[in-house]
Symmetry: C2
Subunit: 484 residues, 2 copies
């Protein structure tokens, strides 16, 4: 038997599922290819739309969101410092910031060298200032690891926690499938707790305690509790009260809290974002000084949306020094995260200040992106709720809506006969009829016999109205087919 | 027990060792810090040298190797396309190439979006052309995965092969410790085969067959065979004959061949680099069409030395489509590798051609780096061989020398009493007396009762003579202490 035969490949890898780039997206790519080939050959477009609109993923810049000028100018200079001789090309603060970054990159000032495995120390210090500004207190730069996006850090931490099929990680349902995929890849046990759709997707502590007890009864050792706030795919923003309950639970059960806070700057509703770190610091001493907390950040989301840079960090609280040295060791087997991504993290955490030459432009770009996201979230929310059989919580944060569809029984029966998942088939039909690519709820997890899809709110404003109308028309026609 | 207590962390992670950034380097960092702090405080330098010279790692740009101008100019433009309006700043071919890259990055032309999880298709096509130029035949872009440096790809492949403590991977001794570290991290079984120091570190097929048989007797299922060519830390370049023997062995035993060829452009001796792919293609049909081969490439080495970019690729041969779809899935859980790194891979594989405006400068930079590396390799080789008790093979390729030291018995006895590894203690003394940081042979593996260290040939030419003299003086004095 060959090493890469189906029977020989690591079964944990085979069992891993990752819907965000899965079946539906591959189908969307095929359709897009067919359309382009037809166009090239002068043939008729086989589909009733001009192009696929990708609403499957939080990838803002593929949807025409423009990169912020300030960080790109700095990175451009750091890549080619010869540009420093052309000072009229750039605002003064850009030049100062670029020089500072160059000076941070060791004696040679180049982005082409491996850095410290945790990331450049001066960059980690900027992150600490950013956190201090957010939380009121600063962590130590020794507790910050810069990573290739948040995903790499999350995987590293899960890999450290899981070494046995009975090691359990609690994840929200619905969840971002990186978690289920990584738990599966490392051969751990996935414990699903439920977010309460009827209460704006808040964390249902009754469900948390119940599934914990069930897991313990099965002999599972529960090691991690994943919380995504603001929520992906659900868009909820947790209240401080809810966060305190979660922290108390982790304290009581000695579980490490993994706080996925990559959408912390995407807030559209009335509840502000509060970091788990800040809430933890406000609690009584024995909790504050005990709960192991790891918070993840990324430059891919927020108003910057620099997904391609693969920049992120995680920051640890109450992790002992032995464990930290193990984290350092594992980070060091990859040598370091990519330096341009590190720079991007630094710049996002250290933006222009009032009075700086770039400040007005930076704020203008930032606010216009955030305001546009807010408008798009509200528009899609309204239109979706107008659809018969669809109900949708508003997006209080993040980049997605996660509407629930109540399918006609006739359709459910048809899916059973065809042995297909109702939400998957629905999304596939939507893709083929109107060219909008969304992800079926089953990719994120959902309560039995409920069906959802995730739609990113990222397409440009001049398209989103059109997309909303198309979805409504598609859905109305779909329902007609099965209800009458 | 807390999740990150010593008893709770994944024991495979704890067992992982990674010397290249290990104990000695941390010590070196401390020393460097002490020197700098003494300087700041106006105190006497506690060490008899001005700064630590890092010869522990293949990190060219930290040793003042300048980045190539051509790729940096292109990346700079792609980051900030506004620069296209200042055409006098850049050579014409740079502008053309930058525009081509921008056009490859989807409709929005930005490096800030996630790409295909395997990397941008046009970049993979450039890689295929590069391989065709090297091997005479082109692979399919569907068989190329762009990765964050070679390390990420290597880890991904090992993770796919290993799912049980009895899954074995054969690695050369000495080896680059990423292999032992990853096998340990994924909980597999490491099978050591030996390179023959007396035969210029060629692969000793007798040893290969012997350790294979021993492993099989223990119930090990051998899945992968790692070959590093040009060698790290040994600097050997394999003959085509030796490579054929290795391929025949993998064919016979149905083992996947992992060819770490990241130093393919670092050649200093008479044996040219030949890729495993090219040799495989020259063999009889049943071998050619059967042996699973994965070749790794990186932008961190060669004459480009862009370590901080974390760019690389792996290219697969004879891997079935199911296995490839699994690779795609795992790659997609990280979404994509960093886009600037992807661009760097593309540019390195698609350099300026004769007649292009940048060609003379590019060739001049390239040749001056490669010639300098060659001179430095020869210089260190000569001086090391002049030392009593040191013998060293020449570096036919890569970026290192791996001299053998025959220690006096008195020293060996002393180490036994102190329960210290002789090579580790020797390297620590070298660091403390002359500030040169090298890595003990035990970090790479070596035959019992032989001792080595790895020294990178990267310090600038104006320093290397001085470093060589210092090492010789240190070694002479060390030997005197124990021999007389």
């Amino acid at each position: 038997m060959k090493a890469f035969s189906r029977q020989s490949i690591n079964p944990c890898i085979i069992a891993t599922q990752y819907a965000v780039r899965g079946k539906l997206v591959l189908e969307a790519n095929e359709i897009q290819k067919e359309i382009e080939e037809a166009r090239k050959k002068g043939k008729n477009n086989p589909y009733p739309f001009e192009k696929v609109v990708y609403c499957n993923i939080g990838n803002p810049q593929i949807c025409n969101q423009q990169p912020l000028t300030y960080p790109r100018q700095i990175i451009s200079i750091v890549e080619y410092p010869e540009l420093l001789n052309h000072t009229t090309l750039f605002p003064k603060d850009v030049i100062t910031h670029a020089k500072k970054i160059i000076n941070s990159l060791g004696c040679t000032g180049t982005s082409g060298a491996y850095t410290n495995s945790m990331g450049v120390i001066q960059f980690r210090k900027s992150i600490c200032k950013f956190i201090k500004h957010r939380d009121g207190t600063a962590p130590s730069p020794d507790d910050v690891f810069i990573t290739d996006g948040a995903s790499t850090g999350i995987k590293m931490i899960l890999n450290m926690l899981i070494s046995h099929p009975l090691h359990g990680i609690m994840i929200p349902i619905p969840q971002y499938p990186l978690y289920s995929a990584s738990i599966s890849q490392f051969g751990g046990f996935q414990i699903n707790y439920f977010l309460d759709e009827s209460k704006k997707w808040s964390t249902d502590m009754t469900s948390v305690r119940k599934v914990y007890e069930q897991a313990v009864e099965k002999g599972i050792q529960v090691k991690g509790f994943v919380c995504i706030n603001p929520g992906n795919p659900t868009g909820q923003v947790l209240t401080v009260q809810n966060m305190k309950e979660i922290i108390e639970f982790c304290y009581e059960k000695k579980i490490c809290l993994l706080a996925d806070e990559v959408y912390q700057e995407n807030i559209y509703g009335e509840i502000p974002f509060t970091s788990f770190r800040k809430v933890l610091k406000s609690m009584r001493d024995e909790v504050k000084n005990s709960v192991e907390l790891i918070s993840f950040f990324s430059v891919s989301k927020g108003f910057y949306g620099e997904c391609g840079k693969r920049g992120g960090y995680f920051q640890i609280e109450n992790i002992n020094s032995f464990a930290r040295s193990q984290m350092y060791k594992i980070a060091s087997t990859n040598l370091c995260s990519n330096v341009v991504g590190q720079e991007m993290v630094e710049i996002i955490c250290n933006p222009p200040k009032e009075g700086d030459e770039s400040y007005p432009k930076y704020m203008n770009e930032k606010m216009s992106i955030l305001n546009s996201l807010k408008r798009k979230a509200k528009l899609l929310y309204s239109v979706l709720n107008e659809c018969e059989g669809i109900s949708c919580n508003e997006a209080m944060g993040a980049l997605y809506l996660f509407p629930k569809i109540t399918f006609p029984n006739k359709y459910i029966d048809e899916c059973k006969r065809k042995d297909q998942k109702p939400d998957e088939l629905y999304c596939l039909r939507m893709l083929k009829s109107i060219g909008v690519c969304v992800v079926p709820g089953s990719g994120f997890g959902q309560k039995d016999n409920t069906y959802h899809f995730r739609i990113a709110i990222l397409p440009p404003e001049n398209e989103i109205q059109n997309i909303a109308v198309k979805i409504k028309t598609f859905h109305t026609s779909f329902m007609k087919d099965y209800c009458h």
